[in-house]
């Protein structure tokens, strides 16, 4: 089919105004410098299905896109013909507050959903940094998470059911619309974090939680990372039940306009007011015993954390929980050796550190002197380093995901081959070049 004929076919599916082919818009929709030939915005799952069926027939490479905030994630696409934009798919399809479950379309944003749930004192416990305007489909496909994961987990814990469109256009449902189900394979787990490489998430059924009655937040600043690590261990070994537990380095503290310190832990407790008070008192006592200076902070700070480390170069490091202080130190010293400044905000209770680097670094130095040694050390304990965002020149120097163990990668390849044998869904962007 000729390019004009494809465009005609797309227009027939979604309507002419929903097919964009003007160069300026397409250029803005580029992924790692690769410009799509069309940008289409379907208005229903059925339209998504027809688009993918067409792409399958025509072997057109597709990149799904929600709010476009995480398009920097992944290796540069091998091919790109079509960006499928989900921002018109914003309906709340089913929501019975008493069930604490909602089924929504993928393009709905987190704050769009929050506005609906807030009326019933409920929430979706996913708070990726930089995030309320992110689409739910994108958050799920990238397995994005934030500080609330300490209590509520990640997409794998909150995604109950998923309707997705396979590469050939087949609309498929997996999971259930109830909070507890083990009927069949847990297909939602496979889709969460798959970066659109197995199918395009069109609808999601989500587990909701009651919004807590009260929240207290504290910041503990330390003159050494080890002492911050001591408090982290003390909290984890106690009966305290914080909902958020974040690690901040000095770069992040300064970015947020908070008191400067070598390291800090930011902790919140959310429950009934009486328990916030009693847990808070215990927490402050533990913090001071570890040598920290405690201040109370407004809960609003949590939504601002993302701003502290928004940079063109971002890494996500996953290591052992007990290693937070050590990894933070290693990152800071490698960054300073390269002349980069660094802000770290981490979900310390989960062993995750998010790193924003500012400055100039050559691709070769980035790959072999910064990333490779950290990766090698992290792999020793089963950890990983993912480059979540980087200028194209740096991406060209090293795989953004890092190596995957051989047998696991083989299985992942087989899955990709099984469900997208033509390789039209986000080709090249996922692990191992899938």
């Amino acid at each position: 089919m000729s390019a004009p004929a494809v465009e005609e076919a797309l227009a027939e599916i979604v309507g002419r105004p929903q097919v964009v082919s003007d160069p300026a818009t397409l250029s803005a929709a580029s992924i790692d410098g690769r410009q799509p030939r069309w940008l289409v915005s379907p208005g229903s799952t059925d339209e998504v299905s027809r688009i993918l069926a067409l792409c399958s027939t025509e072997r057109l490479a597709v990149a799904p896109r929600g709010s476009a905030s995480a398009m920097g994630l992944g290796n540069p696409p091998r091919r790109l013909d079509l960006v499928v934009d989900t921002t018109r798919l914003t309906a709340v399809l089913e929501y019975v507050p008493e069930d604490m479950v909602a089924t929504v379309q993928a393009g709905l944003t987190l704050d769009g959903l929050a506005a609906v749930l807030g009326k019933h004192a409920q929430m979706l416990a996913l708070d990726p940094h930089g995030g309320a305007s992110r689409s739910i489909g994108g958050v799920l496909a990238t397995n994005a998470s934030g500080p609330l994961r300490f209590r509520y987990g990640t997409a794998r814990d909150l995604l109950l059911g998923v309707r997705f469109v396979q590469a050939d256009g087949t609309v498929t449902w997996g999971g259930a619309k109830v909070v507890k189900s083990v009927t069949g394979y847990d297909v939602p787990k496979l889709l969460a974090g798959s970066l659109g490489t197995l199918g395009l998430i069109a609808e999601a059924t989500l587990r909701l939680h009651p919004a807590p009655a009260d929240t207290g937040s504290w910041l503990f600043t330390f003159d050494s990372g080890e002492r911050a690590g001591d408090l982290l261990s003390a909290i984890l070994a106690s009966t305290l039940e914080p909902d958020r537990l974040a690690w901040l380095n000095d770069g992040a503290l300064r970015g947020l306009g908070l008191p400067s310190a070598t390291a800090a832990l930011c902790v919140s407790v959310s429950t009934v007011p009486e328990a916030v008070k009693s847990q808070g008192a215990t927490l402050v006592a533990l913090g001071e015993r570890s040598g920290g200076r405690a201040i109370t902070i407004p809960a609003a700070l949590w939504t601002k954390l993302g701003e502290a480390f928004d940079a063109p170069l971002m890494l996500r490091i996953a290591g052992e929980i007990r290693g937070a202080a050590r990894w933070a130190r290693e990152i800071e010293s490698s960054a300073s050796r390269q002349g980069l400044s660094v802000a770290i905000v981490g979900e310390a209770g989960n062993g995750i550190l998010r790193v924003a680097l500012t400055g100039v670094i050559a691709p070769e130095a980035f790959a072999s002197e910064l990333v490779a040694p950290l990766r090698a050390a992290l792999h020793g304990e089963g950890g990983s380093l993912v480059i979540e965002r980087a200028p194209l020149a740096l991406k060209g120097a090293i795989d953004v995901w890092g190596p995957i163990p051989e047998v696991a990668l083989k299985v992942m390849r087989q899955l990709k081959e099984e469900f997208d044998s033509l390789g039209i869904l986000n080709p090249g962007r996922f692990v191992g070049g899938l």
């Binding site: 019975v96 008493e98 069930d99 604490m100 479950v101 987990g153 794998r156 087949t170 498929t172 449902w173 997996g174 259930a176 619309k177 109830v178 909070v179 507890k180 189900s181 083990v182 009927t183 069949g184 394979y185 847990d186 787990k189 496979l190 974090g193 939680h209 009651p210 261990s233 984890l236 009966t239 305290l240 039940e241 429950t271 009934v272 009486e274 328990a275 009693s278 996500r316 996953a318 052992e320 929980i321 989960n350 062993g351 995750i352 304990e381 089963g382 950890g383 990983s384 995901w401 890092g402 995957i404 047998v407 696991a408 990668l409 299985v411 992942m412 899955l415 099984e418 469900f419 191992g432």
Partner: protein, 481 residues
């Protein structure tokens, strides 16, 4: 088809003389799980002691096109750990060690045969425990729990097994040793760990499981509230959940089961009540004090007959004893019964419980109920006497009606027991052709030759390769599939 002598010799070479069971009476021991309705003895049972032995057995069976059935403690309720087409059963009970306890990382790595409760016993003195608590936890294995994605009363607050599995070692149906996930979170790539939990042995054999440990909460409060009718109890459950309180557990036990528990083990439950709610809160003391006061108020306003609060650990243990051992007293009610595990959206609980009672009346049967009310996971126990002509048929009809009533409300076929042989034919009620085809293709990636637990989980095993076609299931006469 019996295994060849050569194959038995090869199996023995892999697992040793003590690791092979091939006598008729020995194999008979393994012919069913707790769903004794389905019987199918394997042609041989092997009891490996290492991942390498498991992998060698799988590779041998793959070469010989022989079916493989994994088995943990055999406490499943779905006809999962039995061999409808014969073949080799792999019993993992000898692989029952704790490989690592890592409290700093809140995790433990165990072999699949480790008994669920043993892990909490080994970690409690350090302040930790393993949250999934199926009623069988004193005998069921963690490998079996992960394989069936088992639940339990406390999954209302803490989630089912998959929410607590961080990593797995699995010998795939292709005979490869696959290690995924681990105590470090967020490994890049597909979440194979999440997708493999609940595979019911159709994707491979679990040989190690890394699980999350939780810290023991500051306080626990256990309440027992009795009501004159199931309706009052159901409305109370809806009110508690609707008020945004998520108890650790919220269980309902009806009059029939309370009576049997009291006659059987005497847990001190109030006799004569139409339904009893067992409610447990855990967490910071100030939180559970406030929540329990609200719950007591909700129970009172829905005409609770009596509300008891356990004063100490001994009283709490007694209240739970009745619930945890309820399955053990079912035999007092009837020798034969059908057990459902369907789920409804939690707001529909009062409605479905009225439906359960109506179905029981319509079919002139007793349906006993003891279940996880808080998350809408029903366990109606349909009692029948197979000596009374026609009663089994009525029980089956009631069972089907109940399942369809749950699904019509937007529910699910199984909340925690799994699919197995028992519910494979119900899968099309919940999933369309495309959905089932996706699952079949997913299965084929892990089990290219269709040798892993054939006949289970999916309706007709469409993933089955050309090279292996299971024979017709050898089920006893009268079996309903």
């Amino acid at each position: 088809m019996p295994l060849s002598a050569a194959m038995l010799i090869e199996l023995e070479r892999i697992v040793g003389t003590r690791g092979l069971v091939a006598t008729p009476e020995g194999r008979m021991t393994y012919e069913c799980d707790m769903h004794t309705f389905y019987k199918g003895a394997p042609d041989a049972v092997v009891l490996p002691e290492s991942t390498e032995q498991v992998a060698a057995v799988v590779r041998l069976c793959r070469r010989e096109h022989v079916a493989l059935v994994p088995r943990g403690s055999g406490t499943g309720l779905i006809g999962g750990a039995m061999a409808p087409v014969g073949g080799v059963m792999v019993s993992l009970t000898r692989m029952n060690r704790i490989l690592e306890l890592d409290f700093d990382n809140r995790s433990a790595t165990v072999q699949p045969g480790l008994i669920n409760l043993w892990l909490s016993q080994a970690t409690r003195e350090h302040g930790y425990y393993f949250a999934p608590d199926p009623s069988s936890q004193m005998v069921s294995s963690i490998g079996g729990n992960a394989s069936t994605n088992a639940g339990g009363p406390h999954c209302l607050k803490y989630g089912i097994t998959v929410n607590h599995v961080l990593g797995l070692e699995l010998v795939t149906g292709a005979g490869e040793v696959l290690r995924v996930g681990g105590k470090v979170q967020d490994q890049p790539g597909y979440d194979l760990t999440g997708a493999l939990v609940g595979g019911e042995g159709t994707l491979g054999l679990l040989t190690a499981v890394t699980v999350r440990l939780l810290h023991v909460p500051e306080g626990v409060k256990t309440l027992l509230a009795s009501f004159s009718t199931i309706d009052d109890a159901s409305e109370t459950v809806s009110a508690i959940v609707g008020a945004g309180i998520i108890p650790a557990a919220l269980e309902m036990i009806d009059e029939v089961v309370v009576r049997a528990i009291e006659e059987g083990i005497g847990a001190g439950y109030p006799k004569g009540a139409g339904a009893v709610l067992l409610i447990e809160l855990d967490g910071p003391r100030a939180e559970i004090d406030e929540q329990s006061a609200r719950i007591v108020e909700m129970c009172r306003s829905r005409a609770a007959l009596e509300i008891r609060v356990a004063k100490d650990e001994a009283e709490r243990a007694l209240l739970w004893k009745g619930r945890k051992e309820a399955a053990g007293v079912f035999g007092r009610l009837s020798a034969t019964w059908l057990l459902q595990d369907a789920v409804v959206p939690r707001s529909r609980l009062p409605q479905i419980m009225r439906e359960v009672q109506a179905i029981a009346a319509r079919h002139r049967l007793v349906i006993a109920n003891v279940f996880h009310a808080g998350d809408g996971n029903l366990h109606p126990l349909i009692l029948y006497n197979d000596l009374v002509p026609g009663e089994l048929e009525r029980a089956k009809a009631a069972n089907d009606e109940l399942l369809h009533a749950c699904l019509a409300m937007g529910g699910s076929v199984t909340g925690e027991h799994g699919v197995g042989l028992d519910k494979a034919s119900s899968m099309p009620f919940q999933f369309g052709d495309a959905d089932l085809a996706f699952m079949a293709r997913f299965r084929r990636v892990f089990d290219p030759d269709g040798i892993m637990n054939p006949g289970k989980l999916l309706p007709s095993h469409p993933a089955c390769g050309e090279s292996f076609r299971p024979a017709a299931p050898r089920l006893p006469a009268g079996t309903w599939v």
